[in-house]
């Protein structure tokens, strides 16, 4: 299971790198098309860039959750015991889990809605964009489940 998640995580990392590289292309084309005659002025460049961008944000959010990199505020003193640490981490993860469930449950109507809709300029099915939310939810749940095992181990380490 761990290996599978590691593979999935590596895939997300590669996807994020490629998306960021791809993002540069349409905007560059947009500028040059204005000043250089032989580059065609496609109107879908802007739309393509926006769609890559949405995926970058959500794939980045998936990766950041596994690394625990989402910005947090350090106001309370850190718990001293392992049990305290485990409880605090489990609470944070529970909140992330609720958010993930919201992405899945209320993101689903968004996907169904997207099946009927195509984008304005490039006429891409919008489902390819809206899908990103439930997918973020599912990915988060997988990564959170992976971590729960560690939390429980940490909690038990104090029991004796």
């Amino acid at each position: 299971m761990k290996k599978l998640l590691d593979g999935y995580y590596a895939f997300l990392k590669i996807a994020l790198t490629i998306l960021m590289g791809v993002l540069i292309v349409p905007v560059t084309m947009q500028i040059f098309a204005r000043y250089v005659d032989f580059i065609p002025r496609y109107i879908w460049t802007e739309e393509l860039a926006r769609f890559c961008f949405i995926w970058i944000i959500l794939v980045g959010a998936m990766i950041a959750l596994r690394n625990n990199e989402h910005f947090t505020v350090d106001l309370l003193p850190a718990p001293k015991t392992n049990r305290g640490k485990a409880i605090s981490r489990m609470f944070v993860d529970l909140m992330a889990f609720i958010m993930a469930m919201i992405f899945v449950v209320w993101g689903w109507p968004l996907v169904k809605f997207g099946l009927l809709q195509t984008s304005e300029m490039a006429e891409l099915p919008m489902v390819f964009i809206y899908m990103a939310w439930p997918l973020t939810g599912i990915t988060w749940i997988l990564f959170l489940a992976e971590r729960l095992v560690d939390h429980i181990k940490l909690y038990r380490s104090d029991a004796a």
């Binding site: 960021m20 860039a49 949405i54 970058i56 944000i57 980045g60 950041a64 947090t72 350090d74 968004l110």
Partner: protein
């Protein structure tokens, strides 16, 4: 539900979650959920809807691009050349390396739109050098962190792009308005360095000859062209802010790949990945903050705030103080961009009532939020600088507070004399102001 009822759910819930170390982005989203569920006309579906709407903005593409450009410039070793130039300019003053740190940050701020890239790039270069020359670690960290905040004040600036897009203010105008306060901040920090140097007897470099200065200048000219290209291109109407950010990326690739030959295919993927990840984390927060801001607007909470404040009299100056105070406070706890989305929506009507100029309002907000980058508990630049200097945040706080004092004076000057910041945009972009 009334405005006050909604506010009584949103804000306490958000704060409790944040204090319990729930990530800010998630806390903002979860705080919205009870309101969406309790109010019959609303549903949590709106959270996704508002997130989608906020991400689907072409303008915001400038955020990852400006970050990417800054990271490429860092990797290309441009910071090194800027250090050489600054050293030949101010190295001979007492506390030479401290002044160099401030001037490099100012120059780098003109190249990048982000303060965090500034803190990371300059910090990893200068903090070890400063330590070696006998500067205290806490001072080295403090001056690096504080000077890096110029990144968001001096154009180009990611915060100004977001602000301009959100409140329909001319981004070219904002960029120009940031120049004078940026230089004032640099000046105020050099005063702080001078005082420290006199008290602790920090070393200085021998004065550089004119020839050395000119040589350093020639070496640093290509990166120093960046602000001219970006700001000039926007002001003259050659390209939009988003396109300008891509121009910055392309220019940095040309500099690093062709001109200096310091970057190549081996380090491009990791630069792309790190820039994308960092941009995504702050942008993800924008989505949930937008939902939060949407609820505030839907229940007319900004109006309630105005009605509450109006009896106290709101002139431009007192409004300026309220705006600065609110942004300083919120900047301590959350990232600058969500702060703009949340507080900007609340305070914008107030600024309108008091007849404040939109650019003046924006610059006060941006400078106040710049402080937030170094004020704990959530000060990204301070965290980065402390990590590089290898000290605890609390050990750097005293020096940070001292360096911030003269900066506060600059903020007051900006609040009291709007003409000072409006002069440059009026001169160069009269039509749009």
């Amino acid at each position: 539900m009334s405005a006050w009822q909604v506010a009584a759910i949103l804000f306490p819930l958000f704060m409790v979650l944040v204090v319990l170390r729930v990530p800010v982005a998630i806390s903002l989203g979860l705080a919205c959920i009870p309101v969406f569920l309790l109010e019959e006309r609303l549903t949590p579906f709106l959270l996704m809807n508002e997130m989608f709407k906020s991400y689907n903005a072409f303008l915001l593409l400038a955020v990852p691009f400006f970050l990417l450009a800054a990271n490429i410039m860092n990797a290309a070793g441009i910071t090194d050349r800027l250090v050489q130039l600054s050293r030949s300019m101010v190295g001979h003053l007492p506390g030479g390396l401290g002044h160099v740190n401030v001037i490099v940050s100012m120059l780098f701020a003109g190249i990048s739109g982000s303060s965090t890239a500034d803190a990371a790039g300059i910090g990893s270069l200068l903090i070890p050098q400063m330590k070696k020359q006998g500067y205290s670690t806490s001072f080295s960290v403090a001056i690096t962190a504080c000077s890096s905040v110029m990144g968001v004040v001096i154009p180009p600036s990611i915060l100004m792009v977001v602000w301009g897009g959100l409140m329909s203010v001319s981004i070219g105008g904002l960029f120009l308005a940031g120049v004078v306060p940026g230089i004032l901040i640099a000046g105020s920090q050099m005063v702080a360095v001078y005082v420290f140097a006199k008290i602790y007897d920090y070393p200085m470099y021998p004065r550089s000859s004119l020839k050395e200065f000119l040589l350093a200048l020639v070496h640093a000219v290509p990166p120093l062209m960046t602000p001219l290209i970006i700001v000039g291109g926007i002001v003259a109407g050659f390209f939009t802010p988003t396109e300008a950010s891509v121009v910055a990326v392309l220019y940095s690739v040309v500099l690093g790949g062709v001109f200096y030959r310091t970057i190549g295919f081996h380090n491009i993927p990791s630069i792309l990945f790190n820039s994308a990840k960092f941009a995504a984390m702050s942008l993800f927060c924008i989505g949930t903050a937008s939902a939060f801001g949407w609820i505030l607007a839907y229940f007319k909470i900004p109006l309630a705030v105005i009605e509450f404040l109006e009896p106290f009299g709101v002139g431009p100056t007192s409004t300026g103080l309220i705006v600065a105070g609110s942004f300083l406070l919120i900047g301590m706890f959350i990232d600058a961009i969500p702060a703009i989305i949340i507080l900007g929506t609340v305070l914008w009507p107030l600024a309108e009532v008091s007849q404040m100029h939109p650019i003046h309002f924006a610059i006060i907000g941006v400078i106040s939020l710049a402080f937030g980058l170094v004020t704990p508990p959530y000060g990204l630049c301070l965290l980065i600088a402390c990590k590089i200097g290898n000290i605890e945040v609390k050990d750097a706080l005293r020096d940070v507070a001292i360096v911030l004092m003269p900066m506060l004076v600059v903020l007051m000057i900006v609040i009291l004399f709007p003409e000072l910041i409006l002069a440059l945009p009026r001169l160069l972009m009269a039509k749009f102001i």
